[in-house]
């Protein structure tokens, strides 16, 4: 693979030569915007490492030029908040050269003209991008062109507390059969809430199903189970079906009434949720994704794979109706290059270097995200340390991506508000559905179609 890097390095230094002033040896500054994320320090770290590699090559050819990475790592509460801040920064010409974003925002940045169309670049550099897992490209595409490079992906699931299940009277065999029952559509979402509610009411667990306290991709898994299709490929618009919304929020109400969902879940802090789900062992189920495995093991002092699966069962989001299909969600994070950058090509090549198997595998294995290159899956370190990822891969069968519509972020936020309203008891199921329809029409206007 060294020759790939050599080609990249030569190309990059040629570009540097073109980009820098002829007589003065100055640093070319590449600004990187990324979100401080405990489950992803290498997202920015790999960019820095890529720049280092480039600089080593430049030294090797006795060039005076260097690439300097300027990091802007924000403390935003989530990728949605970060994307909003980034849009604001771009709007006032203070955008970076490379940025990290959640894939569903690709559309927003592409449409606003902030993300550079990488289609040409990717096609011309198969040495850098040829090994990337094909379906992942779909997550960074907008109107047929690729605007980003996937940086990682993951699998989301519900982590069920086996100890609680045993206390509810289930045998180990029953527990082991649960995921299959979910996949076959025999164990529905209502059944899940029944179980969780029982656990809470019998005092076995303090919380039923704990989920994130802010808007995020997770909920699309749940709404998917109830038939809510957010995107209409034919018209390229977002959509919402009143019936699907109603059945979804009816389920949320059902769960809240059974105490399977906690009324103040949406105003708990992440700290409190993690405390309850990991160290405190107070939750019957925790709804998030595979990268939390590290935290779970640390919090509950589990050391081996067997200990882990003795303690936890993973299931997809169960179907809404008996016989239906479960659903899963994969939520890649991506690198993108700014269309307004003065060093677009250089930035793109740095991204390409950062997306190579070794650096990406480091990220994947240390933070439990799924790899982006096929080759990574056979690396020894991956096979050794990435057992969780290997175990999670089959669940991708039912996985979908969020649509890359520019307004999907707002769509998500509104669905979340509805969930908050029902959980806190402020809205009934019908009121929540009406509320969401109202807000969607108000905010998204022509970009959303409301069906019955």
């Amino acid at each position: 693979m060294n020759w790939k890097l050599a080609i990249a390095g030569t190309l990059a230094s040629a570009l540097l030569g073109a980009a820098a002033q002829p007589a003065v040896a100055e640093d070319v500054v590449i600004k990187v915007w990324s979100r401080a994320d405990r489950s992803g320090p290498l997202r920015a770290g790999n960019i820095v490492a890529a720049a280092d590699t480039l600089n080593k090559m430049l030294t090797a050819i006795n060039s005076d030029k260097r690439v300097k990475i300027e990091l802007n790592e924000t403390n935003a509460k989530g990728y949605d908040d970060d994307a909003l801040d980034l849009l604001k920064a771009f709007a006032v010409d203070k955008g970076p050269d490379i940025f990290v974003l959640a894939h569903e925002w690709t559309g927003a940045f592409a449409q606003a003209g902030y993300a550079w169309n990488l289609e040409d670049h990717i096609k011309k550099n198969p040495e850098l991008y040829g090994d990337i897992i094909a379906p992942l490209w779909q997550s960074v595409s907008y109107k047929g062109a690729r605007y980003g490079v996937p940086q990682d992906s993951e699998v989301r699931m519900l982590f069920l507390n086996n100890d609680n299940l045993r206390k509810l009277g289930m045998s180990d065999k029953d527990i082991a059969a649960l995921p299959a029952k979910v996949d076959a559509g025999q164990f529905t979402a209502n059944d899940l809430c029944d179980l969780a509610g029982q656990a809470v009411q019998k005092g076995i667990a303090k919380y039923g199903i704990l989920h994130r306290p802010n808007a995020g991709p997770d909920f699309q898994m749940l709404t998917d189970s109830f038939g809510l299709e957010p995107y209409d490929k034919a018209t390229a618009k977002l959509q919402a079906s009143k019936a699907a919304l109603r059945s979804f929020y009816t389920w949320v109400k059902y769960c809240t009434d059974k105490k399977a969902l906690f009324a103040n879940n949406t105003s708990m802090s992440w700290d409190a949720i993690e405390q309850a789900a990991f160290t405190g062992d107070e939750a019957f189920a925790f709804f998030h994704g595979v990268w939390r495995v590290t935290d779970q093991m640390k919090g509950l002092h589990l050391t081996t794979k067997d200990e882990y699966f003795h303690r936890f069962t993973w299931i997809n989001a169960p179907a809404g109706k008996k016989g239906g299909k479960p659903s899963n969600l994969s939520h890649p994070i991506a690198y993108a290059v700014s269309a307004k950058s003065k060093n677009k090509d250089l930035a793109a090549y740095i991204v390409g270097l950062a997306s190579q198997p070794y650096p990406n595998m480091q990220h994947a294995v240390t933070t439990n995200h799924t790899p982006i290159n096929y080759g990574e899956q056979s690396m020894p370190e991956f096979v050794d340390k990435g057992w969780a990822l290997v175990a999670a891969t089959p669940m991708l069968k039912y996985a979908s991506f969020m649509p890359n519509h520019p307004k999907i972020g707002q769509y998500n936020a509104i669905i979340f508000k509805g969930i908050q309203g029902v959980e806190t008891g402020r809205l009934t199921a019908q009121a929540a559905s009406d509320f969401v329809v109202d807000e969607l029409e108000n905010e998204l206007g022509k970009d959303v179609e409301i069906r019955n």
Binding site: L84, K88, N264, S267, Q410, Q420, T424, R426, D438, N442
Partner: protein
Amino acid sequence: MPDFARAQLRRQRANFALFLGPALLLLACFFIAPAIVDLVLAFTDMDRTLAITTLTLDNFSRMATRDTRLLGALGITAIFVLSTLTIFNVTFALLLALVTTAVPRGMGAFFRAVWLLPRMSPSVVYALLWLWVVDPNERGLLNQILVHVLGMAPLDLRNDHPLLVIILANGFIGASLGMIIFTSAIRSIPEHLFHAARADGAGPLAIVRHIVFPALRWPISYMTIHQTLSLLVSFEYILLITGGGPFYDTTVFSLYAYRRAFENGQYAYGAALSLILIVIGVIAALVLWRLMDMRRLLQVPRIEVH
């Protein structure tokens, strides 16, 4: 025009520029200009990309017909402003001023200092303390007292009684300003009036009613206007403590406009909402100005020499 008159006129204009100029410049650039831009924005369709494509009355039609949260926000604002104003900002401030001037000077100063502490400490710190105190778990200070001392069940004030929390939080801050103003007004009442009243046999309540209150009439009027406007437009503490929630329960009108603009990215709609708020505020200010006859506040200056 004779020379000296012309010179005087020149100096007059120069003085105007020198003294009032900087203030007018700053206000024009960063207060008036934004207000005008806001006015224009309210009629556009600016969303989070900060791009304006059309001029439209859509925002106002939405406010009038399609916004289901609006009336709720207005109602909450009314409750919040009236409660905080009447309970804390004016009444409790008055009480504090009266009590701290009735006790020995040193103690009075100490307690006034304590009550100014919330206003003097940074808003982030104050909000943080409130969050820690009303924390629903066992470690919240309030719950510690309730559970261990009074034997009650722990309360989740932030989620069950959010309005109470924000009224208290803002009230503690609001009481302090009134307390200072009223205290200095009380202190400037001549001592001999008090002595004379006591010599005539007046008890403490009568003294308060006949000597202190008349002296406080202007400060009370001013504080009422000032604090009403202040409460109408401020939401910093509400944002930091409850975020306007749970759901929309403590979203006062000003916070509602802010949330629409920043949380939902509907900047033009937020501008339209704040336009309405500005109108409400201006009307309230003018009405109260008339009611409290503030004209007398403006003494005509006496020397017109430049």
